[in-house]
Subunit: 205 residues, 4 copies
């Protein structure tokens, strides 16, 4: 297999993934519902009252956006795609495409800080944790199969693996936090997305 | 980083944005509902009676189409993508992907020229204003970080910045107009899209 | 403007259009509804009874597929994209993205051959007619502005324009046929899609 | 026609197909419904009780993912696209885009192992069988018209044709199995997707 067809391979994999990210991030809007108004009820307070669906929308948008940028950065370093990479990438996309469902579930139950809100928060966090694990597995596979463009020192390899594992652990922790306060989960996840965004701005720009 | 990978970077950013624009413009149709007919009711008058949803559909389609062309023109002049550009572009796409929601909200309330229609019009206009501000921020960032392909004179820089700021101001004005007449807002926004379309036809063709 | 950036221009226009066609053709499935069954009612007869939605789905899929191939063929001959082409292409995409709505409307009313079915058929045919007119306008613009890759003889120009106008006239005729028999409209439109498909297979392969 | 435009042709066909696969795989999530809870009802058991929709989602995701990888592998070997290939590819995409409908139908009826569940399973299996037949037809056409990149021995041709026919036969068999146990159909189809995935990992990596 020559290196030009390798590149075509990773390009098509990236294009497919970009398509899935673009669609998932755009489908989130379908979960936003116009408030059902009673005769004479005012729209503005009804919209404000639906803050959980807007907060969940914004958070999932930020996560998918940062994930896309991460995916982008990762695949820039990948020179070849093998079947294992394709399947692990599909495993990641499974959680990406699923995200609108737990987003909607969380938005629906978030308001009440009830036990159902805690379950919905945990389902949401678990989906993100699984996506973070998928990222780790992809990177681990890429290093093990020497699919990267450049040689990395043992220290660089370790640092990069720790970095991805850290993400998985943090998201897993929000599963637990959901059982204390679902709203806190949403806020932490949103702040994490901002942090990852700015951290990347700082280190890699 | 060599210039070829820079180009690949902007290309993937454009491809992702094109995907989001294409999906958002196509999802608008999901907000169009078949009229619910009573036994013996005629379809044609019922469809005509639903003119607000068709007017809102057409307007949002025109805006997203013109925005896509604008995005296209802007990115043709951008030679390199940095992280800041990626995040500002995501900020723009946030409002692009959100647009089907205020479109649907506006269509639902437009008919009555009630206070709710005014609120729905203001939400719609505010979304467009935020998108226009995002365009300004992207262009300002691109100039400040010298990501453009060519050198621009101080006068050209000033003209281009004024041009983008003008768009933000005009859309912000329609927020106010919504409180006078929501229908006027929709008409003005539609005419603005046509104007931007033809103005570009004239100046850049 | 050098020819390489011209090519990039048409490539991005094609990629955006391909995205819209791909999304519109895939969104059609969202209009298919599972039959609502009463206690003890059997699924198979209920599905068979919903033949209009499957017939309308298949017909719209065939039309969008053939339109995409047509668009593809047309743009292979186009070497440069100007603003006029971009706007006429958006005019075409307006009817492409709208198609799931009249498809759903037609499917809902087709069963009864009532006056409402005739209106729904006419709305469906009118959408297709407007798409056919958009194709004619694009081709006319492309010829007038010399955006094609090769020189065409006056006879070839005339033949190609007649060919596109013919499509518009045939679809316009189905608007009238809808007022006689809506089912006949659906059948004729489906056969037209097959005919255009096979005619292209024959003449251009 | 020179070989560069041939390549552009297959590239655009692949890009369109990738778009359709990416959209279909992402639209599956729209069929997932939040459980409707009664006052005081708990979310977690309600979610667990909806296992059929998650099982059907996962299975259809796996199938579309593997189909995409297959499509990818097949088109890597195809050097030229003719009109016949375009139409057969559309025939394949018809079943790909339709899949969310039988998935939803199957999920709705799977729970009860009733005669309706058997019909839903058979409709699901029939859709997959038709997709498998479409794959066989594409490959048969590609070989017959010598659109592949390389020469294949008669034995290789026979092996590849048998391989695709085998898929069609296996999926056709699951139509019959649906009439014995719809749950078994879902499990077998899921295991088939995993098998095809791993089999490709082994033979082609």
């Amino acid at each position: 297999m020559n290196s030009q067809s390798d590149l075509a391979e990773t390009n098509r994999l990236e294009a497919f993934s970009d398509g899935v990210f673009a669609i998932a991030i755009t489908l989130l809007v379908l979960e936003l519902k116009s408030p059902h108004l009673e005769e004479g009820e005012r729209l503005w307070p009804a919209l404000v009252n639906e803050w959980p669906q807007f907060a969940a929308y914004l958070t999932s948008f930020a996560i998918l956006g940062v994930m896309w940028i991460n995916h982008h950065s990762m695949f820039r370093q990948i020179q070849r795609a093998d079947r294992g990479l394709m399947f692990l990438n599909l495993f990641l996309l499974l959680w990406v495409t699923l995200l609108p469902f737990p987003t909607s579930l969380f938005a629906e139950h978030l308001r009440h800080e009830s036990s159902n809100a805690r379950v919905a928060g945990a389902v949401y966090s678990a989906t993100l944790t699984l996506a973070a694990i998928a990222f780790s597995l992809i990177w681990w596979h890429v290093l093990r199969r020497h699919l990267v463009e450049h040689t990395m020192s043992a220290a660089e390899v370790r640092t990069s693996l720790v970095r991805y594992s850290f993400g998985s652990v943090v998201y897993a922790a929000t599963i637990g936090i959901s059982f204390i306060s679902p709203s806190a989960t949403l806020l932490i996840v949103f702040l994490l997305a901002l942090y990852y965004g700015f951290e990347q701005l700082r280190t890699r720009d």
